[in-house]
């Protein structure tokens, strides 16, 4: 027992020592990115929707992170709300749509439903841009990066600010935009 006690205390101290660099849980950072995307993307004619909606479809990996980030924030005068979608039929109500799903078949079906709608689709799987998604998160050396499929974003009538393009990896997916 004494040994375990010692180990436990040692662990606590080691942990304290190790926690100096700026780190944050993955999905807190991704949630902050979603908010930034909303800031640096221009939607076509402001709709009559009373709120700006960031939607999550599929398993919600954010927990409280997303609603914490967008709380009391607004985009062109409209309060941001985060919404967990119950069904893909609801995508038309979204401005930003985050899809946690990685199954290509499912992704294809969901992205098909957003075709032509002013929705910024954001994903985090290898096939996302190829299947017609607009922005894809990737992890590189423990940091969150994102790739943009410009053709796809344009097909949704969205204008991405140069500030966003400057820090993204812009990829061209032949024919992938729908």
């Amino acid at each position: 027992m004494r040994r375990i006690l010692t180990i436990a205390c040692f662990l606590a101290l080691a942990v304290t020592a190790a926690a100096q660099s700026a780190r944050a849980p993955e999905y807190e950072v991704k949630a902050a990115f979603l908010y930034n995307f909303a800031k640096f993307v221009e939607w076509p004619s402001p709709s009559s929707a009373p709120s700006f909606r960031i939607c999550v479809l599929g398993r919600d990996p954010f927990g409280l992170a997303l609603s914490n980030i967008v709380q009391s924030k607004s985009i062109s005068g409209r309060p941001i709300v985060s919404v967990q979608l119950q069904s893909p039929a609801e995508v038309r109500l979204c401005h930003v749509l985050f899809i946690s799903q990685s199954d290509p078949e499912i992704l294809k079906q969901v992205l098909e439903r957003t075709r032509g709608l002013p929705v910024l689709t954001v994903g985090e799987s290898a096939d996302f841009l190829r299947l017609g998604g607009s922005i894809n998160f990737v992890l590189e050396q423990d940091r969150v990066r994102f790739e943009i499929n410009l053709g796809a974003a344009e097909s949704h009538h969205l204008k991405l600010s140069s500030k966003l393009l400057a820090v993204a990896r812009v990829v061209n997916v032949g024919g992938g935009a729908n």
């Binding site: 662990l11 942990v15 902050a32 980030i69 078949e105 423990d142």
Partner: protein, 659 residues
């Protein structure tokens, strides 16, 4: 043992201080610029603690969505839908059978029931309450994780056949007030008020429920005489429960307090009680308090701390008739358990390949009281007060041998002040054969410690002392992902159970006590198919083939079906947010204590649900046992009835309003 307690407390204090210092340093990500965000190193939050929770075994998860759409009323209803599980009801308590083991008269002690990781088996009988006597209203459940197989290497006693972890909803999930009311057959009514909200950085959830059911006037042919009202127990089946739940959490800290009290009429005249007297009833109450702190830091470290306190009371009031005394005699059976304790768990990733989890646990049973007496003329059968201590430590290594092979090694030692120590290992080899195919080879042992109720029966100083019951399990699991989100799992298992505790009557003195007597072995096959389509269509099906034998008689155990099959389908209907579901199960013949049997039967339940009716209301209508199938569960030794008839067709209508 007090030394152990002291050291555990110190260790936890030490860890707590360290982690609180850490959690103070956070960045406000909502104000961070794009460039700043690009420079933040990320940790994957749930990686360690979650994997320590999820046992390397066949796991089934039932979600709030399914609870609503299938119209489940109790945790027992939920467990009935899980592959390999069957629940029997003696019109007082519900007993959960797993993989062919559910001996009539045994208490519900061989599954471990957790609420948000907090142990709910009491400290006197170590029962898991799953019926109307369960701590929570099922509407507060976010999901139920059912982990099959022995898990004593992580959880200690009672994690014998399965661990059931009930996880509650959060305040943010509710986001407002909810009023729910339901009406059902047999004069049943339930009301619930819940409020949940997020006030940064807190989330709170408050809820209160009240349930009452007049019950049925049940007919028992065994009592069909003029003196016993021709076998009809009038007003003897009533059920009343109330519960309160409060939870507050921040990102890392989670605190809950819960209270429940259930009063149930016992219409079966068990234990030789007077038939058709509604004064025979039981009262079961819980008060639970739990503080949990979970955090991850610096990429590779996870820490979880918990402190808890529980109070359990049982009060049984039984009327019986002494032929020499004109008035019926009231017998009171009383038990009270009070315990507190703590847990600390640390997880760390070593050299990419090793994920080590180590933990400490202690529990102090402050009071384990049992009393049984007749009120008039007064006679005390027993008045037993004891207390005990438990200390445990465990370690687990998830060792990635290669991309495809994962070895999971776990071991836990429990030290009891009452009978000594027991050590239980678990070993699992997980092989990702292909992207959609996983094979698991599992071996583990688990124990159930003799509880205070069983230990009390032993005359102090007598030679036979009670040892823990043990089970050793070998299992092979295949999980296969098929097209369109179809998931298939198959398992073959062998259980070898020793030292089962059973009642023994001394042939000379007539003294009754519990002893380690029986040996059982069981083998079986289990299949589970589940699928979810984007359209909202969901389906699950399971089938179990099992054979559970008493090794000394080579007979199949009583109340052990050979076949068990389940089917559930949820279909979205045309129209907005409209769903229909069918929930059904089939159980084959089971033998009874008297050497007879109860027949196999299928049961079908249907539910129609309209969500967001007028934006703020859900309406659900359910028909249970829709085809009015007459079926029965085997009775136990305390019952004159060899079989106890179960509910026929009944309904429930439920309205839920949100504000």
């Amino acid at each position: 043992m007090p030394m152990l307690l002291y050291r555990a407390a110190i260790a936890m204090a030490c860890l707590l201080v360290g982690s609180v210092i850490l959690s103070a340093q956070t960045t406000d990500l909502s104000q961070a610029s794009l460039e700043e965000l690009l420079n933040i190193k990320v940790t994957t939050a749930s990686r360690y603690l979650q994997s320590a929770e999820v046992a390397p075994s066949l796991v089934t998860v039932v979600t709030a969505n399914e609870i609503q759409k299938y119209g489940y009323r109790t945790l027992a209803d939920i467990l009935r839908s899980v592959g390999g599980f069957y629940v029997t009801y003696d019109r007082n308590y519900s007993n959960v059978g797993v993989r062919g083991f559910n001996r009539p008269g045994d208490y519900n002690t061989r599954i471990l029931l957790l609420v948000n990781g907090h142990r709910m088996n009491d400290s006197v009988y170590e029962l898991a309450y799953v019926g109307t006597e369960f701590l929570l209203d099922v509407d507060l459940i976010d999901r139920v994780e059912v982990i099959r197989g022995p898990s004593s290497s992580l959880y200690g006693t009672n994690a014998f056949f399965a661990v059931i972890n009930v996880i509650t909803k959060t305040g943010a999930q509710l986001d407002g007030a909810e009023l729910s009311t339901e009406l059902g057959s047999f004069g049943s009514y339930k009301g619930r008020v819940t409020y949940g909200k997020q006030f940064r950085p807190f989330q709170i959830l408050l809820s209160g429920s009240y349930y009452t059911s007049a019950g049925q006037n049940l007919f028992f042919p065994e009592f069909n005489t003029p003196a016993d009202n021709f076998g009809v127990a009038v007003h003897g089946d009533d059920d009343r429960s109330r519960s309160l739940f409060a939870q507050i959490e921040t990102g890392k800290l989670k605190v809950f307090a819960a209270y429940s009290m259930r009063e149930k009429g016992i219409p079966t005249a068990s234990f030789g009680d007077l038939f058709n007297d509604p004064a025979t009833r039981s009262f079961d109450g819980f008060r639970s308090f739990d503080v949990q702190y979970q955090t991850t830091f610096s990429r590779d470290w996870g820490l979880s701390l918990r402190g808890f306190h529980d109070l359990y009371t049982y009060n049984g009031r039984y009327l019986w008739k002494d032929p020499n005394i004109s008035q019926p005699i009231l017998n009171v059976d009383f038990a009270r358990g009070e315990w507190w304790g703590g847990e600390a768990r640390v997880a760390h990733q070593f050299f990419e390949q090793h994920k080590i989890t180590a933990g400490l646990e202690f529990r102090q049973n402050l009071r384990q009281e049992q009393q049984a007496f007749d009120v008039q003329p007064f006679f005390m059968y027993w008045n037993d007060r004891r207390s005990s201590l438990l200390g445990a430590f465990y370690a687990q290594d998830e060792f990635s041998l290669s991309r495809k092979f994962l070895l999971n090694l776990g071991i836990r030692h429990d030290q009891y002040s009452s009978f000594g120590g027991t050590t239980n290992p678990r070993l699992a080899l997980i092989f990702h054969a292909r992207e959609a195919t996983t094979l698991k080879f599992l071996y583990g042992s688990a124990f159930r410690a003799p509880n205070a109720f069983e230990t009390r029966s032993i005359t102090p100083g007598s030679t036979p002392t009670l040892h823990p019951e043990t089970v050793s399990t070998a299992e092979v699991v295949v999980e296969q992902g098929l097209a369109h989100h179809l998931h298939l799992a198959g398992s073959g298992y062998y259980n070898r159970i020793n030292n089962l505790i059973n009642q023994y009557t001394d042939p000379v003195t007539g003294h009754r006590e519990y002893r380690n007597l029986d040996k059982v072995s069981s083998k079986g096959l289990e299949f589970e198919l589940s699928s979810k389509w984007l359209s909202g269509l969901e389906a699950r099906a399971s089938y179990n083939l099992q054979r559970t034998l008493d090794r000394s008689t080579a007979q199949v155990l009583t109340n052990s079906p050979l076949h068990l099959a389940k089917l559930g389908i949820i279909a979205p209907l045309p129209g907005k947010h409209l769903f229909a579901s069918v929930d059904s199960w089939y159980m084959s013949r089971r033998s009874t204590l008297a050497g007879s049997s109860v027949g196999g039967f299928p049961v079908f339940n249907f539910t129609l649900l309209s969500r967001n009716l007028g934006e703020h209301m859900d309406v659900a209508a359910s028909l249970y046992n829709a085809f009015d199938k007459a079926y029965a569960d085997p009775g136990a030794e305390e019952h004159i009835q060899d079989a106890l008839r179960q509910d026929g067709r009944n309904f429930r209508v439920k309205l839920t309003f949100r504000f």
